[in-house]
Symmetry: C2
Amino acid sequence: MHKPCTYARVKYVTTEARSVPNKRDIILEATIRVLRERGLSGLKVEEVARQAEVGKGTVYLYFEDKQDLLKALVEYHTQRFYADAAEITASERPFRERLERLLARRLAFVDEWRGLWAAVAREANPKGQKAWLTGLHQHYQGILERFVASGVASGELRPDLDVELTAAALAAFGCSPQLDFPREPYIQQLAEVFMKGVCA
Amino acid sequence: MHKPCTYARVKYVTTEARSVPNKRDIILEATIRVLRERGLSGLKVEEVARQAEVGKGTVYLYFEDKQDLLKALVEYHTQRFYADAAEITASERPFRERLERLLARRLAFVDEWRGLWAAVAREANPKGQKAWLTGLHQHYQGILERFVASGVASGELRPDLDVELTAAALAAFGCSPQLDFPREPYIQQLAEVFMKGVCA
């Protein structure tokens, strides 16, 4: 299975080798468009190939079957979110500002996948699902632990916080409500409750 | 479609009428057992009837088809959770104690349905899903708004809280993490962060 190259590796590979991750990404982008238009039951490899402007055989160069394609799709989108989350939380900005940016990015990710993610994940990996999803989430938990620890280190957060459990609470806190509240005041309120709580 | 009777109504109805919601509930309980054992793809009305110890025709007296059965199942379990949430949050206990009980019940509900709820909800109501789920969630949002308002009224919560957005934040906060933390300290931490925040 091809993995996306890191930038460090791409620097030194030939033009042809560099085109490999790009075509893979193009196919994954086409897959999400087909999913949005036709839903999971309407997802056909032929249509993915057509939208990606490649032959059907090319799709099978990168992905064993539809299940493998869906698994790669979940990982591709999740890892793009994690990369953004890592960048946002590791910046030099004040903790509160990083928190609001993280919540905004997280809610956009949840919105993007709402109603689709669980179905895709289930179809992508019906057997080893729990271990696979736990592995993905463990990575996010690590990002959030470093974020909380950075806030403790800078003195913006309480020194007695349990870093691991606070990170887990923050992960839970980033779920979007089923109701459509105006996004900006909702994010402000989430950040305010997380930072200062609700006690009188 | 039969609806479960409220206790107030059941008091005054005949034995035969009282047996109606019971048989319906027995079928719904059998459905969840079959789902747990065989998954959504293995759910057959015959097997539900066998486990409920009724004829297949009896299932169709209460539910039009499998889709109707699944929709009723989601509503049955969701409304049982909401009834518990309403009872917990409306009690006379201190706000913090009610909050911890609510979070414990909420996480148990999420655990019970993890990986199954979204798939069942999708199959149960593929077309009107968003409006249907929003309607269900609106009820929970109402319970949480009354809960937050009661804490403001008693002076346990800040008087300047936006009740609607704080309730929405609390709804988001009740999501279970994908990782298995020991439940009791996790609930304590959720409650602590919600009540007092993380600021230094």
